[in-house]
């Protein structure tokens, strides 16, 4: 594997559209659930164990080479909110564009042909990791990190939170993030044997509900 390729893919400046999404942080800030570094950390911890774990499992399975159509259906089944499904497919399309230009590979072309309207972002992430020569565990790390990195950056913009405090939150979450990625990668191996039902299916109803509400706001800074 190339450790540098992992850095390129995980870099927040990788041009795949993530900067316009808050991962639910904008709705949580409005509701008062995120108001300082401690509440941001609690939010991120919850998201990491739910949406983060699910995304990491899908990404690891895709990086392992499992069937992307089945994985995309599994992602749909794990994403009850229509707003979040739409956001995931849009981000998947945006990531696929960046990935095809960055790591040209037949499997990325095949994915684009199979999903003209976009596949779920974690599935695209896994196939991208594979094309970049990365391992399933690497893909899981990127997905898990994105699940908390997005809200942390968004909160800096939304609350004017001290950016050093936000990076401190991410650093404190690192050990649990490693554990989530390991769990996701193990689940991906199980899914190769038992099918996508073996992948994590943790849910966070409040994230789903607030995503639906957020999508209807007339004035907002982030797309989701």
């Amino acid at each position: 594997m190339s450790r540098a390729a992992l850095l390129v893919l995980a870099d927040g400046r990788f041009p795949a559209g993530g900067h316009a999404h808050s991962g639910g942080a904008e709705a949580a800030v409005r509701a008062g659930r995120i108001h300082d570094a401690a509440s941001l950390e609690a939010f991120c911890r919850g998201r990491l164990h739910t949406a983060g774990l699910v995304a990491a499992g899908l990404a690891a399975a895709a990086a392992l080479g499992l069937d992307s159509v089945e994985l995309d259906a599994a992602a749909d089944a794990r994403t009850p909110s229509p707003a979040l499904r739409a956001a995931a497919r849009r981000l998947g399309r945006q990531l696929l564009r960046a990935a095809r230009a960055t790591w040209p590979a037949p499997e990325l072309e095949a994915l684009a042909a199979a999903f003209p309207r976009g596949a779920h972002q974690p599935v695209v992430l896994g196939v991208t990791a594979r094309a970049a020569g990365l391992q399933p565990l690497d893909a899981a790390h990127v997905a898990a990190y994105e699940s908390v990195g997005g809200p942390a950056t968004a909160t800096v913009r939304l609350l004017g939170l001290d950016p050093f405090e936000a990076s401190g939150v991410l650093a404190r979450l690192a050990p649990v993030l490693d554990a989530v990625a390991e769990e996701a990668a193990a689940a991906a191996l199980a899914a190769r044997r038992d099918g996508p039902t073996a992948l994590p299916a943790a849910s966070s109803p409040l994230l789903d509900i607030s995503a639906e509400a957020h999508a209807s706001w007339p004035v907002r800074l982030f797309a989701s």
Partner: protein
């Protein structure tokens, strides 16, 4: 488990920026309009739509900072049918969406192109940035040419201050010249400073309060389209 590619797979660009699409057809010319908040980007886009919509099949992408205000202004003014206007959300970073990570804007442009491919393929897509600062310019991966819009009320020292928008845009528009006497802006000085900063690139002074105030910019756009089609 991963594949190591023994043979290098052909490199492509952004899968959109190439002037011809996969089927060989020439895609629409993409022109970006950037500039500070309140300088008259949306008003210029509206005026261009009115001036050019009878000649060309055109569409607009707006990058509102936190609302759909600009898109809704264009809809309310009915400068184009609603299906020809798309809004992109920028996550509080308008310059990121037009320069560092153009993926959402490319999506919006391509969706508009796809929607009209059958009936009347687009000739022109205007991409309006969210109001930003003097350093915000468009990526060459997103637009083929860019217009930077400033106004006389923002201070007549802006051309002298320069910055990437003022110095490198393909066209610099100094808007609201009708306000110059009221805000004490020296148009001659702005013209001299702009000429000095721009090394021969064109500058247009306009007031959209005048009858057909956008005609010079509209002519520039027509010339760009003619050159694009002929290339």
């Amino acid at each position: 488990m991963h594949l190591d590619h023994a043979v290098t797979y052909p490199h492509r660009h952004t899968h959109s920026a190439a002037p011809r699409r996969a089927d060989g057809s020439r895609r629409a010319l993409r022109i970006g309009l950037g500039g500070p908040v309140g300088s008259g980007k949306t008003a210029t886009v509206a005026a261009l739509c009115r001036a050019l919509r009878a000649e060309y099949s055109m569409a607009v992408v707006t990058n509102d900072i936190y609302t759909r205000e600009d898109a809704e202004f264009l809809l309310r003014e009915a400068v184009l049918p609603p299906e020809r206007i798309a809004a992109v959300e920028t996550g509080a970073c308008p310059h990121t969406a037009i320069r560092d990570d153009i993926s959402a804007n490319l999506e919006a442009v391509e969706e508009l192109e796809d929607a009209f491919r059958e009936q009347a393929p687009l000739d022109l897509v205007l991409v309006e940035s969210g109001g930003d600062n003097l350093t915000a310019t468009f990526s060459r991966g997103l637009v083929d040419a860019q217009i930077f819009v400033i106004d006389v009320a923002g201070g007549d020292d802006i051309p002298r201050k320069g910055g990437p928008g003022v110095t490198t845009a393909d066209l610099l528009v100094v808007n609201k010249t009708d306000l110059a006497p009221y805000v004490g802006s020296d148009l001659d000085r702005m013209a001299r400073d702009a000429a000095e900063q721009r090394a021969g690139l064109p500058v247009v002074f306009q007031s959209l309060r005048e009858e057909d105030g956008v005609h010079t910019v509209a002519r520039w756009v027509r010339e760009r389209i003619a050159a694009w089609v002929a290339a």
